[in-house]
Symmetry: none
């Protein structure tokens, strides 16, 4: 980490403990200039960690030109091929959304959300997830977020440029950190991998017990993801929930095999 | 003024009375792309009036490209040859400054300043004055301002892009006008009875599938209650979760009854 001497320890500390745990994830960015401008915006607010999911052009001279000195963020950028790779070890994913209509999750303002982000980032990795320029986050990406944030804008013309959105969010984050008091941390949330492990196990089990014979699996999983995103599962809780799933399938298997034995006897 | 029908009077009013009196003044801008990006940033927050003091290139196709739909602001932009022309009729000029050292005026944060700007703009014209990209406001320009504002940034890398600065200031202005209310509250939480119905159903099912043979039921139900309390279940979600429980046990019950029928046949 590149730490310059600061005028006060508080600032150094904030940079080490808070911002070091915050990553900005840009998904499927079309224009490399936006990646550079986003890096510049991040760096002005002390953010350092940039993750790129399948950028159309990267590295690219336009990105470098727009970074205007934030070259280090581009050089250290993590280029990922899947969202799961970009969210590895993350315990809180915050999805930025411009659309409000078709989303039934609760959507927070940056001002309400960023203090929560900061509190989480004191201890564990947090991701700020930005979708592609034209259409924003996909439904799949939204489903990976535990929190959704919308930057208030004129309903007549609400599409902020990607880097402008990164600037506003990074700015709110910096303000939240400067005004942040250490607060009790009651939750010890599960990592992205643990949550995905549970969601996979749940889907498999629902198939096994025949739940999807009358339900649309994709839609149903979407609903269940939303429910568990709100609750922000702890690692312990995932153990409990997966324990229930295991017992469910074991029990069914036991019954099934008994039933099959009976059938065979009949034959 | 271009006023579209808004969904609520509050927004129309704010646009007419407050934002109509606010002008963004860009002084000696070097890159036309920045003018376009600034216009876009303004328009996302409902600002309309752009003043340009001696822009190096304007009009320019790059400005139009970066405006991305805020063309009307560019078309209506007032191109001025002196700062006094740009500040005509203005009663409050707010100068944006990146430097703090050599300025003896009081410098406010955007959050402190923008409510004052809004109060003034209810009645009379206000200017938000941005200097040139490389060196910011000149001393002469600073001397025309009654208020100076600095966007907090990392002291190591504090130079925001011009359009990014316009975005942050316009955003703070819009928040100051609208108040920072969460945009939507889409949750329709389940009633106490619905939640208790689910918790009872869950406990019964866990008994049935044998989950409690290795777990303390009371302690485990306490943990599960805590998990679902955090998520604040919706009525729809309770239907889904109870559906899963029903399928789990129905499946078992179906197998059991067939199994029992088979046994009876055997007898």
């Amino acid at each position: 980490m590149n730490l310059a001497p600061y005028s006060n320890w508080k600032h150094t500390l904030y940079k080490q403990n808070h911002l070091g745990n915050i990553r900005v994830v840009l998904s499927h960015t079309s224009h490399p200039g936006n990646i550079g401008a986003a890096a510049r915006a991040m760096k002005t607010m002390g953010l350092q960690h940039l993750y790129l999911i399948n950028p159309r052009h990267f590295p690219d001279p336009q990105a470098l030109a727009m970074a205007a000195g934030a070259d280090d963020l581009l050089q250290n950028a993590h280029v990922c091929s899947t969202i799961d790779e970009a969210l590895k070890d993350v315990v809180l994913t915050v999805g930025m959304t411009a659309r409000l209509r078709d989303i039934s999750n609760e959507v927070l303002t940056p001002r309400d959300a960023m203090p929560q982000v900061v509190r989480q980032a004191i201890m564990q990795p947090v991701a700020l997830l930005f979708g592609t320029e034209m259409s924003g986050l996909t439904n799949e990406e939204v489903s990976r977020a535990q929190m959704l944030v919308n930057i208030p804008a004129d309903p007549e013309f609400s599409s902020l440029n990607l880097a402008a959105a990164v600037q506003v969010i990074s700015y709110e984050l910096a303000i939240a950190i400067q005004g942040d008091q250490p607060v009790i941390q009651p939750l010890s949330p599960a990592t992205h991998q643990q949550v995905e492990g549970y969601m996979g196990h749940l889907e498999k089990t629902l198939h096994e017990i025949g739940f999807f014979t009358t339900q649309n699996p994709a839609r149903m999983m979407q609903r269940l993801r939303r429910l568990y995103a709100r609750t922000r599962l702890e690692a312990d809780e995932i153990n409990i929930l997966r324990g229930i799933l295991s017992v469910t399938t074991e029990y069914n298997a036991r019954l099934k095999s008994r039933y099959l034995q009976e059938q065979q006897k009949d034959v």
